[in-house]
């Protein structure tokens, strides 16, 4: 490090965004910066934002791939609104993202990419380097491509291979800005390219070249540090929502003494759950990549009947395909978890973008009367606990459970305090005992109304279930009118009774006040930040954020009744709002909705909330 030591400023929190062409390695750059941030001990949340094409047309706006990280010395709940530092690897990515850089923020660009053709493709009339359009930013216009080539020239790599490490030059510049160590990243290179030492060497050199460049050229610049966050004692790691979801099920299987079965078909943005569980054969995980979405869920129903903890994973269009089979799991009253990682809809919609698109589909998207439990995870780490909870409720109440996550929390990562499986709540599957003379397929627990799970192979419990209506208790096929009414009521009541076993709905903030902000699922971070910012200004605003959608926690009405106004915020046109209007029609609701495939910004939320407060 430079002995002269630039001025080091300590910050509470910072947002850095890496953007480039979709082949520029921005996701890797972002995740290496995240791992490095973890090693410093900051709390953080990340948000990868990329196009659905693997390689969209080169240097175009549609091909821009981005990765945003928000880190701080206090708990961080969202990936942040606006960047303090923007790294743009080509003109198109600059043009698409400059509006997300705060005035006076640091802008790092690869000046070598600002050639006529690329400038034109990005839609600029002239190079932004040639006019004063970037004057409000602290600009580091580095010849990244040229310097990358030079720094590895002695290694004899061909041009194409050398240029692959351009992103590490940019990463090196950010390491200088935030006073970071190389070591964790070096270790990654050594692991990742263990079979190719020259590539390890090249990446190390380029990373350092970026650092040294920044140190010498930007010597007058201020650098920053963010103190370690004061986190609870424990072992921590970085985790994405999809991995956390997969692990929640692994934990639930172990805790319940069952084997885990996943039947799934790849679909963005849910595929990582399938990939992760395919990698867990060592833990007896039977992941089955089915021929289609329907086979995914039907095989899971077969596995559930045969006694495994069975799950299926998908995203919106796949949930549509699974509808009929969810009805089958519902009427056979088998434990099953369906994970829907929501994305922009309808139809193929916006596969890589986030949206709270499927709440209505999850609640009502089936033929006939019949409820399932619907849960929603609210952050990357929270996915772990709600995958676990979904499995627990399915097994203990003998019913399908739909777990909603979304593209934002599924791909985003957070710092995760690793729990011990033994410390997680107990799971007691309702397995019937061999040769129980009183066993009957639809005999119910008087408290929960759950039937018992008689697993093939168990002596004395042979029985048949299926999609046809069954007679109460005995399970024979029955078309009796009164019986259908009774069975339908049982299935309904069974799910409603789950509310008795749920924790009370809690608030962030006081339990009475002027405005209650209501949200559910993956919008938690932004809503929390917005509400806490306003609380800091002395405003009487609280957040009521739901993980349990169906049934709702029992105290929901009581919570709502203590506020003058209620504003329901969603990344859709108001699906939860409409549900609340059905369930709790006695309240008047305001709403704030957005449908852009992007998470909420704190600024837009506070603007809306202040507006409501002014009306009171």
């Amino acid at each position: 490090m430079n002995e002269k030591a630039q001025k080091i400023v300590e910050l509470d929190e910072v947002v850095v965004k890496f953007v480039g062409d979709s082949g520029d390695g921005m996701q890797l750059t972002g995740s290496l910066f995240s791992d490095n941030t973890a090693s410093v001990g900051n709390d953080f949340a990340t948000f990868p934002d990329y196009p659905s094409e693997i390689r969209a047309p080169h240097n175009t706006i549609s091909g821009v791939s981005g990765f945003q990280i928000h880190f701080g010395q206090k708990p961080v709940h969202s990936s942040g609104d606006i960047a303090d530092v923007l790294v743009a690897m080509n003109p198109a990515s600059l043009r698409a993202n400059l509006k997300n850089l705060k005035q006076g923020g640091t802008l790092i660009i690869d000046a070598d990419t600002f050639i006529d053709k690329a400038i034109e493709k990005a839609g600029y009339d002239e190079s932004p380097l040639d006019n004063d359009s970037l004057k409000d930013y602290h600009l580091i216009a580095a010849p990244i491509s040229k310097l990358t080539k030079e720094s590895v020239s002695e290694l004899g790599l061909d041009n194409k291979v050398a240029m692959k490490s351009r992103n590490m030059f940019a990463l090196g510049i950010t390491y200088f800005l935030f006073n970071r160590e190389f070591e964790p990243t070096d270790k990654f290179f050594e692991r990742k390219f263990s079979k190719n030492p020259v590539v390890v060497e090249a990446n190390k050199k380029v990373l350092r070249a970026g650092y040294i460049y920044a140190e010498s050229v930007a010597a007058s610049a201020t650098t920053y540090t963010v103190q370690p966050a004061k986190l609870e004692k424990g072992t921590y790691r970085n985790i994405t929502g999809n991995i956390a979801t997969a692990w929640g099920f692994v934990a639930a299987a172990e805790r319940s003494g069952l084997e885990l079965y996943l039947g799934s078909y790849p679909i963005t943005p849910a595929s990582e759950i399938l990939v992760e569980l395919e990698n867990q054969r060592q833990l007896n995980v039977k992941a089955f990549q089915a021929e289609d979405e329907i086979a995914g869920i039907c095989s899971a129903i077969g596995a559930s009947f045969a006694g495994d903890l069975a799950i299926t994973t998908t995203s919106g269009p796949g949930l549509s395909l699974k509808s009929e089979a969810i009805g089958l799991a519902l009427i056979t009253e088998l434990p099953l978890v369906i994970v829907d990682v929501q994305r922009g809809g309808p139809s193929t919609g916006l596969p890589t973008k986030t949206e709270q698109s499927d709440l209505m589909q999850a609640l009502y998207g089936r033929n006939g009367e019949g409820q399932v439990i619907v849960l929603a995870a609210s952050s990357a780490t929270n996915c772990f606990y709600f995958a676990y909870e979904a499995a627990k409720l399915a097994l203990e109440h003998m019913t399908p459970v739909i777990l909603l996550t979304d593209g934002y929390i599924a791909n985003g990562s957070e710092v995760f305090r690793i729990p011990k499986v033994a410390d997680l709540p107990e799971i007691t599957p309702r397995i019937a005992k061999a040769n129980d003379p009183d066993y009957a397929p639809y005999r119910r627990d008087p408290e929960t109304l759950a039937r018992e799970w008689a697993i093939p192979g168990t002596e004395g419990l042979r029985h048949r279930v299926g999609g046809l209506e069954k007679k109460d208790v005995t399970g024979s096929v029955s078309h009796d009118p009164d019986n259908h009414q009774i069975m339908s009521e049982y299935r309904d009541e069974k799910v409603q009774r789950v509310a008795k076993y749920l924790p009370k709905q809690e608030l962030i903030g006081d339990d009475e006040g002027d405005l209650l902000v209501v949200g559910w699922g993956g919008t938690y971070g932004a809503l929390r930040n917005a509400v806490q910012e306003m609380q800091g200004e002395g405003k009487k605003v609280s957040l009521c954020h739901f993980n349990y959608i169906n049934p709702l926690p029992e105290n929901t009405a009581e919570v709502f009744s203590k506020f003058k106004r209620i504003c329901v915020c969603e990344l859709n046109f108001g699906q939860f709002l409409n549900y609340l209007k059905i369930k709790l029609p006695e309240f008047k609701y305001d709403q704030y909705n957005k449908l852009k495939g992007l998470p909420f910004k704190v600024s837009e939320l506070t603007m809306k909330f202040n507006q409501i407060l002014e009306e009171i």
């Binding site: 973890a38 090693s39 001990g41 964790p184 986190l231 609870e232 004692k233 424990g234 072992t235 921590y236 790691r237 970085n238 692990w247 692994v250 934990a251 172990e254 079965y261 054969r281 060592q282 833990l283 007896n284 039977k286 089955f288 089915a290 021929e291 289609d292 329907i294 086979a295 039907c298 095989s299 899971a300 129903i301 077969g302 596995a303 009947f305 045969a306 006694g307 495994d308 069975a310 009929e324 089979a325 009805g327 089958l328 690793i418 729990p419 499986v421 093939p456 192979g457 002596e459 004395g460 419990l461 042979r462 029985h463 048949r464 279930v465 299926g466 999609g467 046809l468 024979s476 096929v477």
Partner: protein, 342 residues
């Protein structure tokens, strides 16, 4: 559920008859199929508890309710998908799927080819009556070209599937064909399919007495059936006919019907059946044989050895476990980059 389960008593056909009333039409071919399976199940050496019958939707799919084992009546076309999950979840069960030509060839066509390709150890009884019975008489994917039905009042204009051709095309390891009027042969074929480790398909040419009555009469006709059915037996020449003098030879790459004693043909010239050869060419030609140029082939047409999906899964789990340092969920969660906060 271990392999060493002791069979404590001799089971009989009656043990497998459930207490449910059988609701198929009188004269329906399904009755014979049910009776044949009930006869075979006691011979499997399995407890009743270790047998699972799965179905989709259609007349045939009422099957699980009538067998006194574990049973699952699924949704239309998905029987094989449901059975696949049960198979992977519990490799010890004996799994039987009852499915019709609508269930398996139309709405469930995708699951049919993929279950076969994976070679899951499932015994599929494919009830082929060449019609949709439960929905009252619409044509199915196996209805012969030109046949008039409720939804083809001027005759169908689409070529039917030959289930055996699809099965072998999907790399099937076991395919057999039988007719519902021959319960003895059916029972033998069911037993052979149970003994086959991997996916087995037994196509049963089955009569729908209401909507397609007599669809297979051409083959059943007492006077001519010897000329119209070729019964295949391993190691035996492919000979048929009332006089037992007709046979199949390979002329170039095509099968041809010849008469022994004519044009210098002797029994030596007739093809010998080998169901176990991996090369599917002859098997494919056998399943495709159609009247009137050819007899229709019956018996075990293809029966080749290949590891089953669930065997490979179990093996893979064992192999990965032996090598992995991760023995429980806690190990997994602490693998890779972690850090401590004091």
């Amino acid at each position: 559920m271990s392999k060493d389960t002791i069979i404590t008593q001799e089971l009989t056909k009656e043990d497998f008859v459930s207490d449910q009333m059988v609701k198929w039409c009188p004269g329906c071919g399904d009755h014979a199929i049910l009776s044949s399976l009930e006869k075979v199940l006691p011979q499997l050496g399995k407890r009743k508890e270790d047998i699972l019958v799965v179905s989709g939707i259609g007349c045939s799919s009422r099957f699980p309710y009538y067998v006194n084992t574990y049973g699952f009546h699924g949704i239309h076309g998905r029987a094989l998908a449901i059975a696949s999950g049960a198979r992977v979840a519990n490799p010890e069960l004996s799994i039987w799927v009852a499915s019709g030509d609508g269930d398996s060839m139309a709405i469930g066509g995708n699951h049919f080819i993929h279950a076969i390709r994976r070679n899951l150890d499932i015994n599929l009884m494919l009830f082929n009556n060449e019609i949709y019975g439960l929905t009252k008489g619409q044509y199915s994917p196996t209805t012969p070209l030109g046949q008039t039905t409720k939804t083809s009042p001027f005759g169908t204009i689409e070529e039917p599937f030959v289930p055996g051709e699809l099965c072998i095309g999907a790399q099937g390891t076991f395919f057999a064909r039988v007719i519902d009027s021959d319960p003895k042969a059916m029972a033998e074929l069911f037993l052979a399919s149970a003994e086959h480790k991997g996916m087995s398909v037994v196509e049963i040419l089955q009569n729908c007495v209401i909507f397609n009555n007599g669809a297979h009469n051409y083959l059943k006709d007492r006077e001519h059936k010897a000329d119209r059915q070729l019964w295949l037996e391993d190691g035996k020449p492919m000979i048929f006919g009332k006089e037992n003098n007709k046979g199949l030879i390979l002329n170039g790459t095509e099968l041809e019907v010849v008469t022994i004693g004519e044009n210098g043909i002797t029994e030596e010239d007739i093809l010998i059946h080998d169901s176990s050869t991996a090369n599917p060419i002859i098997h494919l030609q056998l399943v495709r044989m159609k009247a009137p140029e050819f007899p229709v082939a019956f018996g075990v047409i293809r029966n080749v050895k290949k590891p089953s999906y669930e065997q490979l899964m179990v093996q893979q789990i064992e192999d990965v476990k032996a090598k992995s340092k991760i023995k429980c969920a806690d190990d997994l969660f602490r693998s890779g980059t972690t850090w401590e906060v004091e």
